[in-house]
């Protein structure tokens, strides 16, 4: 089930050129073992080019946050290298802080600060000059639709707005690498789109964006390339389309079961299945489309199912196949 | 779930949370109570036996302050920041039960410190104590009162830093500016009157009455005032909880 990427003798996956490009973030053989013996990252190798949004996808506890914390210098790698252009970020964590912006998973400490103040001060600490930072901050506040809270104190903000403010703080004067650890947590669906738009603009302006998420469907829409990580290991890497090539001739049959119904006997053409609550997801060959619809209708006639839907495979299916776990997120429609 | 059963469960929860910290709390108690005892000897160069007896019988009161009035508010404010607070209050347990469990743990946690403090203090100053049975209700009530007032403060003051500074100040005041280790006669009238309203002085009186003869007067009134403060602390806590719900 685990897809091993072909590696050369140096442990590189051979998918990209050697690190001579000035803006590429290059992570090679990154390993992190915690004191109590837990192997959080196991020889992870990946790279993020300028202008690219790179997603790290994986279940909770997979080691995604551990990875990015080593990039920004909060954790010390047990082995491996992290380079940004010619700079060695493991040997010089202070450089990492200068060249990279980091939005942590937890909220920012801005209880007593006003929203615009928090954003502007962070911009200035990152090296921006007053007027430019101010202008950029105002633009971001508008773009993220948090204008009504511009003068509010951090303590008064809801979780979602606070998250957006955190994002603004980190991207008002971004580093060459922008690391976002679950940026859309708590954010409402409308503003989530505005957030993704800003992330895309960052990449278009030349930043390398490293994005940690466990939300599969959002990731699919927003990233250029992604890696699936589980239990510290890189299971697969590529563009969302390339990762679905193995499933190219497959379709996805989703059956909404009646509450409390047991999983019915699955016909032979079901390649893979997963159940989350009342939702049964089956992967089938394209050729079996008609037979699957017949089967689904039979289930409905027997009152085992409420409805069904047939569609193209999504990244979620790839994810399920790789990690063997039912994805817990409900798809955003 | 019956009151007794849910109380038992919450008690186990509180004990499990506090277990790790008990040695540190004991250390803090000894530090402050024994420390202040010895400290008075430095501030007052020529200590009479009567003054020494006064100091020693006041030490247990000082040992009570860190637990109920400092550590309890501190733990509550930590819980608040860590959001454990919201979780605890969302449990299907009657609020009074949770409060009762907290009070039990913090009242009991103060006891060992009191005993050790007394032992060390009497050895240091060579004072002989006349222990009577009324020490038991005295210590229990004083400890319960500290925990209740601490709870009221912790729930009433939402700002963690203000709470922390206030409790810091409280220890300071208790050690240096209250008639716990020094006779109230030394105090200017206005301060003496203030202390007759505040509970610190009365805690000292009831405990002193259980440890000696003739050094404490008007003990009944002190018991009453302590009782009122306990009810007051619980009332504030109860009102805050009620508002939330």
């Amino acid at each position: 089930m685990v897809e091993a990427l072909p590696r050369d003798a140096a442990g590189r996956s051979g998918l990209a050129p050697a690190p001579t490009d000035g803006g590429t973030l290059w992570i090679e053989g990154l390993t992190k073992t915690y004191g109590h013996g837990v192997l959080a990252n196991d020889a992870l190798t990946l790279h993020v080019d300028p202008g690219e949004v790179y997603g790290l996808l994986g279940p909770n506890g997979a080691g995604k946050s551990t990875l990015v914390k080593q990039v920004i210098g909060l954790l010390q790698p047990t082995a491996g290298t992290i380079r940004l252009g010619a700079h060695d970020l493991v040997a010089h964590p202070e450089l990492a802080r200068q060249l990279c912006s980091y939005l942590p998973q937890a909220q920012m400490p801005i209880e007593s600060l006003r929203v615009h103040e928090a954003i502007e001060l962070t911009g200035m600490i990152r090296g921006g000059d007053g007027p430019a930072v101010h202008q950029r901050a105002e633009g971001l506040i508008e773009a993220l639709d948090i204008g009504p809270w511009r003068d509010s104190l951090g303590a008064r903000l809801s979780g979602g707005v606070r998250r957006l403010v955190g994002f603004a703080m980190v991207t008002v004067w971004p580093g060459r690498v922008v690391i976002l650890d679950e940026p859309t947590n708590d954010v409402d669906p409308l503003r989530r789109r505005l957030l993704w738009e800003q992330i895309r603009r960052l990449a278009d302006a030349g930043a390398s964006v490293l994005l940690v998420t466990h939300n599969v469907l959002e990731a699919e829409r927003a990233v250029d390339r992604l890696a699936v990580i589980d239990r510290g290991r890189l299971l697969a890497e590529g563009t969302p389309s390339s990762m679905k090539t193995e499933d190219r001739d497959h379709l996805r049959l989703t059956v909404m079961l009646e509450p409390d119904a047991a999983i019915p006997d699955l016909p032979a053409f079901v390649l893979r299945h997963a159940r989350a609550g009342n939702r049964l997801t089956c992967e089938i060959e394209e050729a079996d489309a008609a037979r699957s619809i017949t089967w689904a209708r039979e289930l409905m006639a027997r009152d085992t199912a409420e409805e069904y839907a047939l569609g193209a495979t999504t990244l979620e299916d790839v994810y399920i196949r790789l990690t063997g776990a039912a994805a817990l997120d409900e798809p955003a429609t | 779930m019956t009151f007794v059963r849910s109380y038992g469960l919450m008690l186990r929860w509180e004990l499990a949370s506090a277990r790790v910290w008990l040695p540190f709390w004991l250390g803090l108690q000894l530090l402050l109570a024994v420390g202040s005892c010895i400290m008075y000897g430095f501030f007052i160069p020529n200590l009479t036996p009567a003054a020494a007896a006064f100091i020693v019988t006041g030490a247990p009161t000082i040992a009570l302050v860190p637990i109920g009035l400092v550590m309890l508010p501190f733990q509550v404010s930590l819980q608040r920041t860590r959001r454990t607070f919201d979780f605890l209050w969302s449990l299907p347990v009657a609020r009074p039960v949770t409060v009762a469990a907290t009070l039990t743990v913090f009242t009991a946690a103060a006891m060992p410190g009191i005993v050790v403090t007394l032992v060390i203090a009497t050895l240091r100053y060579g004072v002989r104590l006349a222990v009577s049975p009324q020490i038991v209700p005295a210590v229990v009530l004083a400890s319960l009162m500290s925990a209740s007032v601490g709870l009221g403060l912790a729930y009433g003051i939402r700002n963690g830093l203000v709470l922390g500074l206030l409790t810091n100040l409280l220890i300071f005041v208790a050690m240096m500016f209250s008639p716990i280790a020094m006779p109230i006669a030394n105090f200017p009238t206005w301060l003496a009157d203030l202390h007759r309203i505040l509970p610190l002085y009365h805690m000292a009186v009831v405990i002193r009455a259980g440890l000696s003869t003739g050094l404490a007067t008007d003990v009944g009134a002190s018991y009453l005032i302590l009782g009122l403060w306990t009810i007051g602390g619980l009332a504030v806590a109860g009102w805050v909880i009620g508002r939330r719900g």
Binding site: G22, I72, G73, L74, L75, G85, H87, P93, R97, Q98, Y102, P104, A106, P109, I110, E111, S112, L113, L121, T122, M124, I125, R126, G127, A132, Q135, R136, A143, A155, P174, R176, R201, D204, A205, G206 | W21, F24, G35, S36, I38, M39, F43, I44, F74, S77, L78, T81, N159, L161, V162, G164, L165, N168, L169, M175, M176, M182, N186, P188, L191
Partner: protein, 267 residues
């Protein structure tokens, strides 16, 4: 190569990391603004408690020493209380503030900002100094008025105040950044506070302490902190100011180094 994002142009050509005096100074100024803004809601209360603690101790002197306290004792105490005023924010409040951030999981958020650690510590020092000096002045005014003390202030008061404040702040910073568990740092700070008030010659002369305590205090900075202030506030004899300066500077430097190291610690 500068590209448009929104209304502002991003300086992507600035790919070289910053360093040097300009970087330090601009980081210092911005972190100072950040710290002041972060304390906005709490600073007024801190200052008030300062004044009460300082002036309060001075006025309550008569409780500690029964009867009419002798002149010398009063003067000694009045010159020692300002030490408490100067370290209150840095040593007592500072670690507590950091502990709150740790508990809220937001401690890392400011650690990842590109700011030299020395600039960050310097900015915090400026804040604690600004909060301590009014408290100290209040204490001195109350002492002078209540006990008719004539302080003979020498110009050396300025470096003395700066030095005393920096040592208190750096000790607090070392504890705050060095100790990971909030409960432990809280108890530690309580212990230090108690120790300074009751077991060092800050509020009463050293001869009241047993010999072994006197010996310990020679090595610790607290006795020297009060000696520096006393020398510049009163006319009385003070032993060996050179040694005091040395000890306080050494402690400040060591604790500042420890704090800076702890801030940059990687797990």
């Amino acid at each position: 190569m500068a590209l448009d994002v929104g209304a502002a142009r991003l300086p992507w050509s600035f790919s070289m990391p910053r360093s040097g005096a300009g970087y330090w100074w601009s980081s210092f100024r911005t972190m100072l603004r950040w710290d002041v803004a972060s304390l906005r809601l709490d600073l007024p209360i801190v200052v008030i408690i300062q004044l009460i603690a300082g002036a309060g101790i001075v006025v309550m002197m008569s409780l500690l020493v029964p009867g009419d306290p002798p002149r010398a004792a009063v003067e000694y105490l009045a010159a020692g209380v300002p030490v408490v005023n100067l370290y209150l924010l840095g040593l007592v409040f500072g670690p507590q503030w950091i502990a709150e951030q740790r508990a809220a999981d937001s401690y890392d958020a400011t650690r990842v900002l590109p700011c030299p650690r020395s600039a960050s510590l310097a900015a915090w020092y400026a804040v604690t100094l600004a909060a301590g000096v009014p408290g100290m002045l209040g204490t001195l005014v109350v002492a002078a008025w209540r006990y008719h003390i004539d302080f003979t202030v020498s110009p050396m008061i300025l470096p003395a105040v700066l030095l005393v404040a920096v040592s208190g702040t750096m000790i607090g910073a070392a504890i705050g950044h060095g100790v990971g568990e909030p409960m432990i740092s809280r108890i530690g700070v309580q212990a230090i506070n108690m120790f300074v008030v009751g077991f060092t010659p800050t509020l009463f002369p050293a001869d009241r302490l047993p010999d072994w305590l006197q010996a310990i205090n020679v090595v610790l900075p607290f006795e020297h902190m009060s000696a520096l202030l006393r020398a510049t506030l009163t006319a009385g004899p003070v032993d060996d100011l050179g040694l005091s300066c040395l000890v306080v500077v050494a402690w400040s430097a060591a604790c500042a180094g420890l704090a800076a190291w702890a801030m940059g610690r990687r797990g």
